[in-house]
């Protein structure tokens, strides 16, 4: 795939060229939205909005990392969605105790429909991490999703989140610290291979 040629064609209004780019980046865009929003339906909406917005403003792309540029679009779409949620809060679908309090125990994280142990472990891990990600402030969450989940370097993260490089370093360190603290509370739930203590090699 000649990305530069596709971008040039898309900039001249070629929708097919842009759709080729979409097919290439849609997984990254959807995953970023999913980790920032924590909800699959909302992530789909945000991803679609991001691609529409990206096509309409593709002439503003002046080179550099296209992935960073497209992820910035989806990040903005996620921020819009989060702001919308803040204005019109919805009731979470998390189970509640008989007292009406939200259950924050590891039990609700387990997905009863999954039978294979490994799948269950992976899902539990994913739920635990997502739970901790959701607990982060949005700007920290965005940086950690882009750097650690999407594997972008600091420069790309800075481009995608429109934040100076120094701020990216600071936010990433804080986000990792908070995640570490949060994940400690799920340590019993986490499979042995995912326990924090077991990681020592780089």
């Amino acid at each position: 795939m000649d990305e530069t040629a596709l971008i040039t064609s898309a900039q001249s209004g070629d929708l097919d060229a842009f759709n080729t780019l979409i097919l290439h980046y849609q997984d990254s865009v959807f995953n970023t939205a999913l980790r920032i929003l924590g909800d699959e339906d909302q992530a789909q909406d945000a991803a679609q909005e991001a691609f529409i917005s990206a096509f309409k403003s593709i002439t503003s792309f002046r080179g550099g990392s296209f992935k960073a540029w497209i992820l910035r679009t989806v990040t903005n779409a996620c921020y819009d969605e989060l702001r919308r949620q803040k204005r019109r809060p919805t009731t979470p679908l998390e189970p509640e105790t008989s007292d009406g309090e939200e259950m924050d125990s590891p039990k609700w994280l387990a997905d009863s429909s999954m039978t294979p142990d490994q799948k269950a472990e992976a899902d539990e891990l994913e739920h635990a991490i997502q739970h901790c990600l959701d607990a982060l402030p949005t700007e920290f969450r965005t940086v950690v999703v882009l750097a650690d989940i999407q594997g972008m370097d600091y420069t790309e993260v800075a481009t995608a989140s429109r934040v100076p490089l120094g701020t990216i370093k600071s936010r990433l360190a804080r986000a990792r610290l908070r995640l570490r603290e949060c994940l400690r509370s799920f340590e019993e739930l986490l499979p042995a291979s995912f326990r924090l203590e077991s990681e020592s090699t780089r």
């Binding site: 842009f18 979409i22 529409i52 650690d148 360190a173 570490r180 924090l196």
Partner: protein
């Protein structure tokens, strides 16, 4: 617990964002400080966990359609010309139609004779109405002059003149009686006749109005075909 500056350095070191000198300095500190080493291990484990998070496949394709981005099929270059023609024809049609429809209610009919639009009928009608009015004063004045004649001391010419008037008076008296039915008989068709003429000869010729309508409809049809053709080609 280490201060945040140190943790920030550890996080950047983990990502290879420190320069060689900073990395060497930090590495020597990590070796000598077990707490710093422990924090580094935790940060690394956290990052490792995040990286192991399974990447979800997009549940559907997010490819865009032309409708989604509001793209319209490219229309032929002549399309704006037809659009302009349709607009002009429609405006002219409405204008001319309105003018023709409203002309009987305004002074178009009275003004018309001055400009020669079917003025003959209108002018005759006015003359017909004025004719008896002009004769009536004469008829009324005639007896008065007759009455005055004996009292006047004028000469034979005046007497002859009054005699002529006396002779004329019976004719004038008879004439209106005879002329009245004739005049009414003639004036009725003449009064009715001019009105249809005024309506027929409208300010804007009917042919023009029809032409505007036809041009407008044809242009609109051509535009519609152009749009359909462009849309079918685009698909």
């Amino acid at each position: 617990m280490k201060n945040f500056r140190e943790i920030e350095h550890l996080s950047a070191y983990l990502d290879g964002q420190l320069n060689q000198a900073e990395s060497a300095r930090l590495e020597s500190r990590i070796k000598s400080d077990p707490e710093l080493n422990s924090v580094l291990s935790d940060l690394r484990a956290t990052r490792s966990l995040l990286r192991k998070l399974p990447a979800r496949k997009a549940p559907r394709n997010f490819t865009l359609t032309r409708k989604m981005v509001g793209l319209k099929p490219p229309l032929p270059r002549t399309y704006p010309l037809f659009r302009l023609a349709t607009t002009f024809a429609a405006v002219l049609f409405l204008l001319s139609f309105s003018v023709n429809a409203l002309s009987p209610y305004f002074s178009f009919g009275a003004a018309a004779p001055a400009f020669g639009y079917g003025g003959g009928g209108g002018g005759d009608a006015t003359a017909m109405e004025e004719a008896p009015a002009a004769e009536e004063p004469m008829m009324e004045m005639a007896p008065a002059e007759v009455m005055e004649t004996p009292a006047s001391d004028s000469g034979s010419e005046a007497t002859e003149e009054s005699m002529r008037n006396m002779e004329a008076t019976p004719e004038a008296e008879i004439a209106p009686k005879d002329a009245q039915p004739e005049a009414t008989a003639e004036s009725q068709p003449q009064e009715l006749q001019p009105q249809p003429e005024v309506q027929n000869e409208a300010p804007v010729p009917t042919l023009w109005v029809i032409a505007f309508l036809v041009i407008g409809v044809l242009s609109a049809l051509v535009m519609w075909f152009m749009r359909q053709s462009a849309a079918s080609k685009w698909r």
